[in-house]
Amino acid sequence: MSINASGWRPEAPQQGTSAAPTFTGNKALMLEEALIFEIGDTTTTGVEVAAPAKVESLLGALARQKPIGLPGLSEPETVRHYTRLSRQNYAIDLGLFPLGSCTMKHNPRLNEKMARLPGFADVHPLQPVDTVQGALEVINELAVWLIKLTGMYGVAMTPKAGAHGELCGILCIKAALEKRGEGHRKVVLVPESAHGTNPATAAFAGFKVEDIPATSEGRVDLEALKARLGPDVAAVMITNPNTCGLFERDMKAISDAVHEAGGYVYCDGANFNAIVGRVRPGDLGIDAMHINLHKTFSTPHGGGGPGSGPVVLSEALAPFGPLPFTARQADGHILLIEEETAGEDHPDSFGRMTAFNGQMGMFTRALTYILSHGADGLRQVAEDAVLNANYVLRSLDSTLVAPFGPSGPCMHEALFSDDNLADGFSTIDVAKGLIDEGYHPMTMYFPLVVHGAMLIEPTETESKAALDQFIGALRSVAERAKAGDATLKSAPHFAPRSRLDETLAARKPVLVWKDPQLAEAAE
């Protein structure tokens, strides 16, 4: 069966339209690319498979008879298809990627090389543990680094991403409360400025989520928080540095108050990059904090994962952490503690969160990154990240409104609002204008506590020259938005696509490709 018998790329040609005035729809190096379902067919393959052994099938009646409908391409066509697609993406490798709260720093290629060593990449999770001692050592060595960098007591390595780590921390808290016989504590306090995953996680674990009030300076209102604490409060979830890019000055006092009231302190560690090597969360009274290895420790974001979210834990919560985990014995041999021995070694564990041992491929990358920087380099990371963000803040605070600018320095990200743009202009117009300038936009409309928020996180891997050019570009776009330049409303003009209709996508969802001929015949 051929999926598209003509072999023609039906979506590519756009002759005569103003958007694409060429026969092919291409514009020199800006290349259109059809879907694999339009250019491939079910008889083509790009691989050669050894002929099967001659045996009787044991599949019986379940042997597949009907076609599946999976198109194939030859290897040259495959390489070209994905290379062409790749060129429609913005990426850190192309330029500054100031997405606030996402820590889009350079991804060193040594990390990639190390993760691909066969001793790490080609090892099965269920091999006998004495055949994987090197892999367990990587996990253990990284765990020790994370514990020392955060000043915490223990670490759960298996969570698969930041939100999974949040869940791990909250489940530890829930298990600890139940052990204490205080399962009646049902309220988790979360600031309005928190990442959406925080309330989603707390709600998943069966907690009731309540807002923590903020001060006009963008920080947690300590007195209001204290007033709300009580016997029904299980925990507070705080991001520090917070999503306004500010350090929570009262963090230690907050922790003390929460502990005194019998609750636990969860810290969203998404912004750990700002303080690594300068501040240890353990010194601030934190009980649990996830660390996004794909942010602070430079494992690649990959267009949306895979992430990795180890959770550092206080002495109070560590006994409740998930299985499996590693334990180094006196002779250097490393054990993998699973359900089998958990009864003796880790009886209070809340259980397993994922099938195997966590994101090993991310552990090797993160450890490589950490060893490259060392204790001194990581401290420099935080300092340069904070310096770069403050440089952006002070270079632009006369152009845009920086709501918390007057209260002092920011941490790793600079926050602006859309308050001084012309009527009818908002953050999205600035963002789309930045695309035409060759940048990925900043985080838009987050945090929710600032009108039309623009959250800019340059990271430490940008040079001063790169920052100066970005500042110039943003200033220029912002001035146009303040002057009411109508061309911004239809930006981007030079990207592979102009603004996309998200309402249409949601109203009539088309989530898989359907053969237009078959679809027509069906109607």
Binding site: I36, G40, T42, T43, T45, L58, L62, A63, R64, T78, Y82, T83, L85, S86, N89, Y90, I92, D93, H106, L117, F120, V123, P125, L126, P128, T131, E137, A163, H164, E166, G196, A200, F204, F247, G277, R280, H301, G303, G305, S308, A355, L367, L371, S372, H373, G374, A375, Q380, V386, L387, T461, S498, L500, D501, E502, L504, A506, L511, V512, W513
Partner: protein, 452 residues
């Protein structure tokens, strides 16, 4: 430090623009008690690329890699040959170092790839739709159980004894916190699974039945009757596929009527990597799409009428819905989904079917050969590329002894089900296109010696 471009001259110039005397001034908000005055003690300082490489390589050499000798492990992670172009393409910086495609005008590469991935996955699983991927198979399985609760408004899930025990563990962990009731049992070393028992157990409180296909022992069973039984009681059938290559050779769960099909996609394009990162597959019937967890990519048009793709139906997701979201999941497994999609495109239907046929035939030949070893009995009469042997003694020490001969012989059921005496002699053996006839011969000969 080689990854930090600022010079000391830059730093002082920037501090003067900021109006700060020193870096310390930028950290004034940190309470004094928590300020560190220098690098943290007893941690090493920065190191050159060469010395880091030496350290990591030494650690890697302490492991026996699957490619170092005969290798027969499966049970949820499988060793397949991944074409060289897959790893090359996923390392294109535009894929590797891109973020989640929140700005679709400059992320069409990732978005179109996800749309293609969703379509490939839906067709493979036999479902109407599929999402843009989950963390892995085990978390996808749990998310499916949660979704069934939302759809049916019931909270009792029946888990087949053939479901991977780690997947059962994950579900048990989560159920403790959500209040779902789970019915679970351990498998037996029998030719048949528990389809008949599952059908008998479904009642008016059942939200879903979860069945693995092929199951943990490698057995394959027709799910049609089970699907009909679920439908009759308005429960959902969730099928779990841990070896998607199998679907090149056997009927898909969706075609047999499963409502939700989840899977571990690692087999296609993604290496073993000691357990992660992997890629969870998640497909379902179209009518349930708004209860689905995870990211979805959809087709739309741009302002000039050109086809384009965006993330869509995000009103289900945490960044919009916050505490009312369908799931707390934020990230997907984008780069692994890309690897899956590229490998699947290279295979195409013809390649996938050929690969599946070679896997099955190799496994059949291996099962026949190993069953000839005295003290070895084949438990599973039907299987795809993985089968269970019953040894005349506990399998776990045998696996250990064979590892000393550089043979990774399979997964002992004693490892997966510690303390379950009836399973202690079970050994699950996987055979893929990477297994040679000599590998099988080496295992057979060694097994004969250690069992004697």
């Amino acid at each position: 430090m080689r990854y930090l471009p600022l010079t000391d001259a830059d730093r002082s110039a920037m501090l003067s623009v900021i109006g700060a005397a020193s870096i310390d001034d930028l950290f004034v908000d940190v309470p004094e008690v928590a300020r560190l005055d220098g690098p943290i003690h007893d941690l090493p300082m920065h190191a050159s690329e060469l010395s880091v490489e030496r350290h990591m390589t030494a650690l890697a050499r302490k492991n026996i890699a699957a490619g170092d000798g005969p290798f027969f492990l499966g049970c949820g992670a499988y060793r397949h040959h991944v074409p060289a172009s897959v790893d090359h393409l996923i390392q294109r910086g535009e894929f590797l170092t891109a973020y989640t495609p929140y700005q679709p005008e400059i992320a069409q590469g990732t978005l179109q790839m996800l749309f293609e991935f969703q379509t490939q996955v839906a067709r493979l699983l036999g479902t109407d739709v599929a999402n843009a991927s989950m963390y892995d198979g085990s978390t996808a399985c749990w998310e499916a159980i949660g979704m069934a609760r939302r759809v049916t408004k019931r909270a009792k899930a029946i888990l087949s004894s053939g479901l991977h025990p780690h997947y059962v563990s994950v579900a048990k962990t989560m159920a403790k916190f959500t209040g779902d009731a789970l019915e679970t049992t351990t498998p037996t070393l029998a030719a048949e699974g528990d389809i008949a028992d599952l059908i008998a157990a479904i009642d008016g409180d059942t939200s879903c039945v979860v069945v693995q296909y092929p199951d943990i022992l490698g057995r394959i069973a027709d799910l049609s009757e089970l699907a009909a039984a679920c439908q009759a009681k308005k429960a959902l059938l969730i099928a779990v596929v841990t070896e998607p290559v199998a679907l090149g050779a056997i009927v898909s769960p969706g075609e047999m009527g499963a409502d939700i099909v989840v899977g571990e996609g690692q087999s296609i394009g993604v290496g073993l990597q000691f357990g992660g990162p992997y890629v969870g597959l998640f497909g379902c019937k179209e009518k349930y799409v708004r209860q689905m967890p995870g990211r979805l990519c959809g087709e739309t048009q741009d302002a000039d009428g050109r086809r384009g793709f965006v993330l869509t139906l995000s009103t289900r997701e945490q960044h919009i819905r916050r505490e009312k979201a369908t799931s707390n999941i934020c990230t997907n497994s984008g780069l692994c989904a890309l690897a899956f999609s590229i490998h699947m495109t290279l295979l195409g239907e013809a390649g996938l079917r050929a690969l599946a046929e070679t896997n099955h035939a190799g496994a059949v030949a291996a099962a026949e050969r190993l069953a000839q070893v005295p003290g070895v009995e084949l438990v599973t009469p039907t299987f795809f590329n993985e089968f269970t042997l019953k040894l005349n003694q506990e399998a776990r020490p045998i696996v250990r002894a064979l590892a000393d001969r550089n043979i990774l012989a399979g997964v002992s059921l004693g490892r997966l089900y510690p303390g379950v005496d009836d399973l202690a002699n079970g050994l699950v053996v996987a055979v893929t296109e990477t297994t040679t006839a000599e590998d099988v011969e080496t295992l057979a000969a060694a097994l004969q010696e250690v069992l004697a």
